[in-house]
């Protein structure tokens, strides 16, 4: 079976993948790669760690593709896996007590052509990422979903399994903490 990337719906690709079509898997990876990767990097604080997380995410998605009951909502299903894998990874890292942010790698890994104002943004992004990494994982997750991924609270609640009021509280506390941490770099 030949899958023309970008022209098939998620449901069609998932059906093809269930029949063992590797091209369908490649098409899904291409379609959802950017959004998922950014979330994983923000949550883990490093492109190297996000690499591990995203390998696990896609392999979990592949192994459990038949449990995706609503193929038209594959994106939400996949995002739940990304959130869970990121949580597991950060928890494990916290247990190891080896917090490591490879800021240099994050910046180096972005081709200069795609980042016209890279030099200016480089330091700011690294500082903010470092501050983000200092937040408790659940606050970081809520903040990233709300402001980086620009989701509404209902969607966040559906994906995280956390109630709207608890999410609002986490976002508010994240903002409060970030304001303190970034006081020196952000002239708010």
């Amino acid at each position: 079976m030949i899958v023309e990337r970008g022209t098939k719906s998620d449901a069609e690709l998932i059906r093809a993948l269930s029949e063992g079509d590797l091209d369908a898997f490649a098409a899904l990876v291409e379609r959802y790669r950017d959004a998922c990767t950014r979330f994983a990097v923000r949550m883990t604080g490093s492109a190297l760690d996000a690499d591990d997380v995203m390998q696990s995410v896609w392999m979990r998605a592949l192994r459990n593709i038949r449990s995706c009951k609503n193929p038209d909502r594959f994106g939400a299903w996949l995002y739940q896996i990304v959130i869970n894998e990121s949580r597991t990874y950060t928890k494990r890292r916290h247990q190891r007590d080896s917090r490591f942010i490879d800021d240099e790698f994050i910046v180096d890994s972005i081709p200069a052509a795609e980042q016209p104002d890279l030099a200016m943004r480089e330091e700011t992004q690294a500082e903010i990422q470092r501050a983000l990494d200092c937040l408790p994982a659940e606050q970081r997750e809520a903040f990233v979903l709300k402001y980086v991924e620009e989701m509404d609270y209902e969607t966040m609640a559906e994906l995280t399994g956390v109630g709207v009021s608890a999410l609002k509280m986490r976002v508010s506390r994240a903002c409060e903490r970030l304001r303190v941490l970034l006081e020196g770099v952000n002239h708010a």
Partner: protein, 196 residues
Amino acid sequence: MRNDENDPRDDAFAERIARPLRAPEILAADFEARLMAQARAEIARQHVVTRRKNWWTTRRMYTMSPLAGLALAAGIAIIAATSTLALGRRAAPEAPRVAAVHDTVQLVRFVFADSSARSVSLVGDFNEWARGRTPLHATARAGVWSVSIPLTPGRHEYAFIVNGHRWVADPLSPGNRDEFGTESSVLMLASSNDAS
């Protein structure tokens, strides 16, 4: 999908600091090659499992003459009787046999170190010796480049192209010189069957 359910002060502050965080992130250049190698192996494994399951669970209908049926019944009776007699003198139990599923490709990581390199790519019989088709990416260690690619077991010849033009055989692997005097390196990749 934005809404303004937060403290407006939080919104303004968060919006300002979230903007740089919305920049796209790109993983290592070989991320997809590694992922697809794993996915290929997983799909092959699932295919084997499904085929085995299907064979056992598919309903089958056989036709035979009454005479053949009688002969089959007699054969089963003889086997049952023989097995019963043999119960008392059973040999020591054999070690359990586990059916192993082996991948047909293996992921191989190529590492090259050269502090003067600005770009490094891998050429070999597995990519038709095409320059630029398999670039190595710079690792976190200065001057160290790497790429992981799926390869089938067997003998492979390869070399590195440094800065787009300099042909370098792998100093850590045995070399091979072709009839034109060009040196490349040789990788002998054992199959996972051989390793077990």
